[in-house]
């Protein structure tokens, strides 16, 4: 029985082994480069979020704990004098099409949101993918409180705590707002338990 099975499937087993080794070899060669690309992108986005502090702004990764005791890595932004100017956190949430990964930045007092950067998103082209564009301005200098999404209102007004949704992409807008709200809550918890 086994011999009959092997006679029929030896090629499949041999190919699976050979292809597996090939993929593993390629992965081994490229893994570091892929990781470096992710780090470069993250650093680029952090620099853009804290651009007012110039090129001398330094970022360090620290680990804190939320109220449930779960470890949370976050970024600390320090200016040239070493003073903390803000924090950033990478957070994931469900979008319209797929998960959305955002990098959210807040000021040092955790009172105002500095903005967010989209690290990963597969939202609908022409609609939801506008979360990478001018929609980001909605969050700049907003209070770090629970923000609400509305469909009509004054755009890019940091005085109110409402986010005017992208026309035709309310779900994507709500998803981003939810992710930002959750990230702010987590950062506040981490700072409390520090």
């Amino acid at each position: 029985m086994l011999v009959k099975f092997l006679k029929q499937t030896w090629l499949v087993l041999a190919a699976a082994l050979a292809f597996g080794l090939l993929v593993a070899a390629v992965d081994g060669q490229l893994k570091q480069r892929i990781e470096d690309n992710k780090i470069k992108k993250r650093n680029r986005e952090l620099r853009a979020l804290f651009q007012e502090y110039g090129a001398t702004c330094a970022f360090t990764v620290q680990t804190g704990k939320d109220t449930e005791g779960k470890k949370v890595p976050y970024f600390v932004a320090q200016d040239a004098t070493g003073q903390i100017v803000g924090y950033a956190l990478e957070h994931v949430g469900g979008g319209f099409a797929d998960k959305i990964v955002l990098l959210i930045a807040v000021d040092a007092e955790l009172e105002n949101i500095k903005g967010y950067a989209v690290m990963k998103s597969n939202e609908t082209p022409g609609f939801g993918d506008k979360i990478t564009g001018d929609f980001r301005k909605e969050f700049v200098n907003c209070s770090a409180v629970k923000l609400k999404v509305v469909t009509k209102g004054k755009r890019y007004d940091p005085e109110d705590d409402v986010i005017v949704a992208i026309t035709g992409a309310t779900i994507s807008s709500e998803a981003v707002t939810k992710i930002v709200n959750e990230a702010v809550v987590i950062l506040k918890q981490v700072m409390k338990t520090k």
């Binding site: 090939l22 993929v23 480069r33 892929i34 690309n37 082209p125």
Partner: protein, 210 residues
């Protein structure tokens, strides 16, 4: 006794490798003639850059999978050949995805899930079945090259039209005057279908006249 008529069968000329290569470019073009690979055709042709990247990735997978399938064609058992094709194609798609993430990370992000979806592109498994599993290495390579270049050409034509009308640009460089009103529908799936439909009509008309 009536003489029996003997039919002389004219020797059928087997197509040379050039035939395989040239047919893939236009006569049997994957997009305009065979309507294969419609998912990436409609999804990644909003701009020229991602379309060309997708075409290049598909060409790489086509060539590699055709060569490997051709190399093991004499060992393929009837009912396991589809499994072997899929295994081969999946391997090279994984490698293509890793290469994009490593060397073209922005394009990899833009293409998103459509790179792994190359595995289910009917063009690749179709060529493995129709050509690579029956012909030698050189013919299979030329077939893959022709089909891949033809597919890339189709993607680029579609993408050029869509990007030009949607953004007034080609390769993100503005080419139309500022007064041109962008056709936002061209960024959307509806625009993709419309453009593809028109191009299919033009290609059918061309072949009908021939």
């Amino acid at each position: 006794m009536a003489e029996t008529e003997k039919l002389e069968l004219k020797a059928v000329e087997k197509p040379a490798w050039t035939g395989h290569f040239l047919r893939g470019l236009w006569q049997e073009n994957a997009i305009f003639r065979q309507l294969l690979g419609m998912c990436p055709t409609l999804a990644v042709t909003a701009a020229l850059k991602p379309a060309l990247t997708m075409g290049a990735a598909t060409l790489f997978v086509l060539i590699c999978s055709n060569l490997v399938v051709s190399a093991m064609r004499k060992l393929l058992v009837g009912h396991l050949r589809i499994l072997m094709f899929t295994l081969t194609i999946a391997t090279f798609v994984t490698i293509a995805d890793q290469l994009l993430q490593a060397f073209l990370p922005e394009m990899s992000e833009k293409l998103g899930p459509y790179v792994p979806l190359i595995i289910v592109n009917c063009l690749i498994i179709g060529r493995a079945e129709a050509c690579a599993s029956r012909k030698g290495l050189w013919t299979s390579f030329c077939d893959a090259l022709g089909m891949g270049i033809g597919f890339t050409f189709g993607l680029c034509v579609l993408a050029s039209i869509r990007e030009l009308l949607a953004d007034g640009a080609l390769w993100t460089i503005r080419v139309l005057p500022d007064g041109f009103v962008n056709w936002n529908v061209m960024k959307l799936p509806a625009g993709a279908f419309l453009t593809l439909g028109v191009l299919l009509g033009v290609s059918n008309q061309f072949f009908r006249k021939k």
